[in-house]
Every structure is written in structure tokens, then in C-alpha cells.
Symmetry: D2
Subunit: 252 residues, 4 copies
């Protein structure tokens, strides 16, 4: 029976500010990218998120980011590799303590936002993230963009890189994402998205923007929970996968 | 052969700002209260401090504080017990990851600044700190003020409370500290301080402000490293203890 | 023709986090308490809020708070009076620059959250807020709780204190608020609230929790915009006041 | 009688952390680049710095930076132009309030650290800084690197750009700074530095790294106060200029 992972960002509230509907998304996903306090998530938010993940039987991953609450980790920050590695290690430790208190622990790492995008190509920051995960000591799998520099560096360091596909994004025939500057970058139709993700999980291919069928080597599918539409899309994808006899389980 | 612990605050630099002479103080103390990022210490400062502590064979403790960089953790913050417990647990996990990467780990906890002073009497905050240490899972000893509410709560929770004396402070005949509002609150003469600390380590007594000899049940002596004078005082206390055949070693 | 002011908190979003429906509340109120960045509001949020206030012809006030983003300014922070006065003055200047760029300026000050509640009784913090407003140089009116220490100090300093009533709160017969620990602290029925606020605006009295009619000397009514229900309540109060021929205009 | 300005960074302490010897540097300079709280300087530090500047008869400038306390504003932050402009305007307003309370006000603007270096070439961030200064409304002069994009944009916007030279830096024959990656980037001999700065002030030329005499069109000389050596260098430069009958006064 084929299976695949569904991952989503959670724990992104901060203090009095609420972000996303984590309770709803926990009913759809198998892996939770939990914010660690540097781009989002305060300790009490993180603690509650971990308890909720455990209750929902969802695997906890560390969503590490640049130190930038005001920018939600979505702005490149030109920190030194040492600073970045230490910041990531700090975040891993903090989340681990809260996840363990909730009865679980960190099972994988996913870089967030600008850090995720930067280490697609930025050698030093990619290496810093890998170094931090190695220093943490558990050799956790890392969820990354296929073809990214970080993925290669994780592999070279003996970590397990896990490639992910984006449910609601259009892909070019060469397997890269259609740029968000293009009008058709994002897919909005749940039926189209679901059909494509079933194809991915069962055949290892997706339909690209030009209609061609291309290989896609991804062990996880990224869905979103920050809007009502996104939550509904995630639920549709899960339901579609299950009705196609694809099992949903975490890669970690 | 009698022995006692010497502890001091370290890792209190932040970004471009330097605080204290940690390298110097590491030559005198056996236990290092390492800032965890909420009142002082950024991840790179903490990481370096942990490496330096390991190199100097100094035991690492977690110096947890209120979330208040602008106030250096010296201002009471009326957070909820849940917020406080989660903040402390977050700090413990963060430091643990950096300390382990340096080849060691957290061996004890010492609340910092306003948190230290608050939990002398504040029931809910004292319990929150104890709860966080329990949740961390290693049942670490806690360094506290003798007679404090937190000390009683730590004991009740099955943790090991460790009482400390302050090398450079005058004590009232009842064992409480002479208030800093009094002119003679602080001792400045290394010879006087050293003699008193030798007495503490060898006989379990100190000379109070009125000249009376009083019992003082302390397993650790707190010294400072934030000024040149403080560093010299710490070195004098260590030298004095050693010349009196008192061994310096951590309680943890 | 009688008139009264309606005030509400706005500009409380921060970075990627959205708080409240400012656009909706601007259609109901005459005065906007704009967050200044210390408890909520980043510079871009504040700038946009000021432009929206100007476009809606709503008067801008400075909603100054303790330096505590993680706690949304709702936790007492035991800062020194000097720190508090400087923090408030800093916030006033920052908002003034953004408000002027939007074509207006600060017309009044309202302390936020824990600061508002603290200076009901805390002499030193109350004086610090007053000192900061004096130092700002424009002798702005201050929106405060009737009977508060801060109100008396503002008056003594030559500032104009403006008392406010809370539309959705029950009052004791002595004019104090029914504690939030009581089940009936908050009023939920728009009709009841509206009738009471019309009474306030036209007769200077309100109906207290025991049904007695008591005097209430308030120039402004505080409404909320953080939930859909609150926005609807604000709109109902405004509509009710206008239908009773009460004009809505800022006190400032 | 020839004259020139000496400027230096001040107000860079934060909370319990002290940076630089502002009191000493105030005896040498005519212009003070006062941190505004985003890279350094808390409100009480800024307030005291402004009072000290006024007492020392030193002109106050706004040292605006990226929002990055942990990085001291020395790391490029890829914020949007709108975010940057609003951040700068917020900082200008905040400092203005504190400077006015001290009896003065902002007389010029100098971008700090990574922002200073970025707008040498970054069109959008350069324009954002210029836009913020225009929005502030006083059309303040801007202290910048000769030849920078920001300088051209300031001029185009009708602001007065003021070029500065660095007392302790070596220059290439083409007028650019010798890279800090080169061993001879920084000058350490007070006599050499002073002679060069006298030449600058009296003839509008300096001696470049290859010994050639090149034109240097600078109205201000940047000196440092963050180390004892830097403070001594600043004093030497001032004394040298005065003994050469060059008057020290602010350009603003």
C-alpha cells in the first residue's frame, strides 16, 4: 500500500496574536513543523502545540528560522554561519525540551521561510543548518526543497534529506516551482490538487504546468493551515489520498 | 578535607555587548551560572561560554530569568505561572543543546535576578520554576537563597535544593542579608571576605554584621565577575580557601 | 445637542500577525488609541493605521504601554519610573512622526493594558506617565479611569485628564467596575449597552449592576474591535447614540 | 579660518550593557550619531545621551539602523523598502522626542552599520532612507559615504548630502576605502592620522595608501569611541586640527 507524509506549519501564534487553525490542520497532517520562537511561537504556544500534536498523533518537527519576529522569518538576514548554527541549535534544544515535556520529541527539522529559500543556494547558511543538526546529536532527517544545496549538504553529512512537494503550487516541466511572480504559480482547485497528489503518492509523478507528466521524488507533501481555504484544501488532499488507498504517515 | 562550591554568573554578553570577564572568573569558580538568552546571552555567546566552561572544567548550570533583555532580568514581570514555567523550560532546553554540543550538559539550575528574588516569597512563580525543572526531566539541583519559598517547594517536589551564601554581602544575626539600602550591605575587603568564607567552609558558620558568629548552611558561595574588583575578590576567596585546605568543587 | 467620544484600540497587528478589524472599527469611533510598538504595532502597521485614521476622520491618540511584546503589555513590569518615562516619551515621538507623515499627529494619550491598570494606584508609574507627556511638550489630554491616581496626577501637572466609561462593563453602585472575576462583569446585550450609553451621554448617569442609577462623569466611551461581536457592539452603540441625537466626536 | 566636523557614534549602550565611553568622546567631537533603539540604545540610554550631548554642546544626529539588536545592526536584513522607510521614520520620531526633551533636536541623519554599507549600492534601501527623512518633514542633512547611491538619491530628493572621511582608514588612489580584508586597511598611528586629517581640512586632499595625494571632498571626519585607543585617537585628531588652526564645528 502506497503512503506519503503531509506536513504543515503550526505553532505560529505569538503572545496575544493567533496564527492559523492548528487544531483543524492536526486532523489532516502527519507531520507538524513547529515554530521554535525565533520567527514565531512563544514558549507557551509551543508547549501547547506539542501537547496538541501528541494528542493528534502527529509527528513533531522543528521549524527553525532566522531571528526575526517582526519579519516572521521571511526576510533574509545576513548572519554569520556561526551565528546561524548557534541560533538553530538553540531553537532545537528549546523545542526538544517542550516536546519531551509533552511526551514526544523532535523527529525532524524543516528550515522556515527565508532560511528555507536561502539554503536552496546559499552554501554557508546551508552548511550551518546541517552543522547545527549534527551538533544536536540525533541526526534528524531534514525536510528540504528537491535539488537544493542544503539537501546535498545534508546527504554529504550523513543526515537523511527528505524532499517535499507543495500541494498547491504549479511546477515547471523541469521540476522547479513556477515563480510566484507568475499568475499561475498557485493552484486553487482542490480536485486538481488532490488528483496531482494522488499521482505523486502512487506513481512518483506530477502533472506540470504545461500538462506534461514529470517525475517528482518527494516523501512529503506540504499543505497550509493559515487560512480557512488552506485548511479545507489540506482536508481535501488527505481525503483524496485516503480514498485512493494512500496511507498518510510521517516519514520520520 | 572540607570542600565547597564557588559559583558565578557567566555568558551575560549579548551580540556586540560584552559583560564581565568570563575567562578570568573561570579560573576561580567550580560552577558557572550560564545565561540562557532571556535576560542575557545570545546563542553564540552561550555556545562559546559552554565550550570555555568545559575547557576550564567548570560545571554548567542554567541561569534562567524573566523574558526581559532591556531590563537584564532585574525587573519583576507579572507573567502567569504557565508562561513562566514554559519560559524556563524553553531556556533549559536551549542551554542543554548548546552545553551538550560543548561536551557537557546542564547540571543545576539557578534563577536569575528578579526571578531569584521574587521566588524567595512568590508562591506561584516559585512553583512554576520547580515545575519547569521537573518537566525538563533530569531533576536537577536548584541553587537558591536559604529560607526561600522556592527552596521549600523544590524540596517538596523531590528536587535537591542547594543553599548559597554571598561572599561579599553582610548578614544580619538572623541569617538574612543586610539590605542593600544599608551602607554596610556589601563587603569590600578581600581579607575579611576570605576569612569569613573559610569559616563557612570549615565550620558552617559566618560572622554576622554585629560580630556574632551564626550558623550558615550553604553548599555554594556566590562570587561575581562583572568588574575587575569582583574578579580579584573571587580569586582571593579561592586562594584563601585553598590555602586553608578547603577543596573547591561543584555541588552538582 | 449632546455629544460624546467613542474610543477603541487599533494598530495592534504586528508583522505577520493581524489583530482586530481596524477598518470596521474606524466606521464607529471618533478616537483611535494607536499602539506604539512596545506592546503591539510595528512601524509599518502604525503608519498604515495612521493613514486609515486620517482617511476615516478619526482622531489619533497614543496607546503607550510597557515594553513587552510577548505579553501584549498586559503584564505588570516593575521598571523604574525613569525607564517608564523614557519608554513612554520614546513611544510618543515614534508615533508622532508616523502620524504627522499621515497628515495628522497625536492628539491625546491613553495608557494601555497593565500600565493603564497599574497607574490607577501606582504613584510612581502614574507620575512617570504624566512626566513623559509633559516632556513631550504638547500637554496632550490623557484618557484614564475615573478616580485613578494617574488622573489626579495629570490634573495636578496641568494636563487635561479625560475620564472614560466602558460600554460593555457592569459597574458597581459606587462607580467602580465589577471585577472580571465576577460572572456578570461583562455586558453582552447590545440593546442594554446602547441604552446605558445613551443615558451616559445625555444625562451623565448609568445604570449600575444593582439597577440603581448612578452618576458617571465620562467624556469618552471605550469600545472594542478585536472580535466580530465587539465590532458589531461598537456599531450598535454608535447607531444608538446617533438615533438618540447624540453627536459622536472626539474629546481631543 | 578652515573648519571641519568630527562625528562619532554614541548612545550605543543597551540596558545593563555599556558600550563606548561617550563622556570622553563628547570632549572631542562636534556631531553625535545617537543610536535610536533598533540596533542599540534603549530609551533611557538615548535620553541621557541627548542630555550629555546638549551639555557638551555637541550636535545630535539620528543614527538609524536595521531592526536587529542581536546583530547590532551590522547584518544586512532584506526588509521591504516600505518596512525600512517606516522603521527609519519611527526611529527619527523616537529620537526627536528624547532630543527635544533634552533641549535640542535631530539636526542630521546617519545610517548605521549594515544599512550604511548597503545603501552605498542598494537602490531601494537607499531610496527608502531618503523617503523616510523627507517624510519626517525637516529635510535633514544626511551623512554618507562619498560616491554612494544614497548620496545621489539624497541630492535628487532635495536633501543635503554630507560626505565624510574616516580618520583611521587607508584610502585607495581612486578615493575608495582599502578593504578591511587588507592588512593595511586601518591606520593606527595618531600622528599619521592627524596629519592626514589636517591636510583634508585645510587642502581638501589626503594621502592615499600608495603615497599619492588625492582629492577628498568631505565635510566631516568620522572617529570612534568604542575603545580606549579610539578615544585617544579622536582626542589626538581634534588637538592636531586645532593646533593647525582648524576650527571644529558641526556641519549641521
Amino acid at each position: 500500500m502506497p503512503y506519503i507524509d503531509l506536513n504543515s506549519d503550526v505553532g505560529e501564534s505569538f503572545g496575544n496574536w493567533v496564527m492559523g487553525d492548528d487544531a483543524a490542520i492536526f486532523t489532516s497532517v502527519s507531520s507538524a513543523n513547529v515554530a521554535c520562537g525565533f520567527h514565531a511561537g512563544d514558549p507557551s504556544v509551543i508547549a501547547q502545540t506539542c501537547r496538541d500534536a501528541v494528542a493528534a498523533n502527529v509527528t513533531i518537527g522543528a521549524h527553525v528560522g532566522y531571528r526575526d519576529l517582526a519579519g516572521f522569518g521571511r526576510r533574509f538576514l545576513d548572519c554569520s554561519p556561526t551565528e546561524l548554527a548557534d541560533d538553530v541549535l538553540y531553537q532545537l534544544g528549546a523545542l526538544e525540551a517542550l516536546a519531551r515535556a509533552a511526551g514526544s520529541g523532535i523527529k525532524y527539522v524543516k528550515p522556515h521561510g527565508a532560511l528555507y529559500n536561502t539554503i536552496v543556494h546559499h552554501e554557508a547558511h546551508a552548511q550551518a543548518v546541517v552543522d547545527a543538526i549534527r551538533a544536536f546529536g540525533s541526526d534528524l532527517p531534514v525536510l528540504l526543497l528537491p535539488g537544493s544545496v542544503a539537501l546535498a549538504k545534508a546527504q554529504a553529512a550523513g543526515l537523511r534529506p527528505v524532499a517535499e512537494a507543495f500541494a498547491d503550487r504549479n511546477y515547471n516541466p523541469d521540476g522547479t516551482l513556477v515563480s510566484r511572480r507568475e499568475a499561475n504559480a498557485v493552484l486553487h482547485d482542490p480536485a486538481t490538487v488532490t488528483a496531482n497528489m494522488i499521482r505523486l503518492a502512487t506513481e512518483g509523478t506530477i502533472v506540470a504546468v504545461d500538462g506534461s507528466v514529470i517525475p517528482m521524488d518527494a516523501e512529503s507533501i506540504c499543505v497550509h493551515g493559515d487560512t480557512a481555504g488552506a485548511v479545507a484544501m489540506a482536508a481535501a488532499v488527505r481525503a483524496g489520498l485516503e480514498s485512493a488507498s494512500v496511507s498518510i504517515k510521517s516519514f520520520a
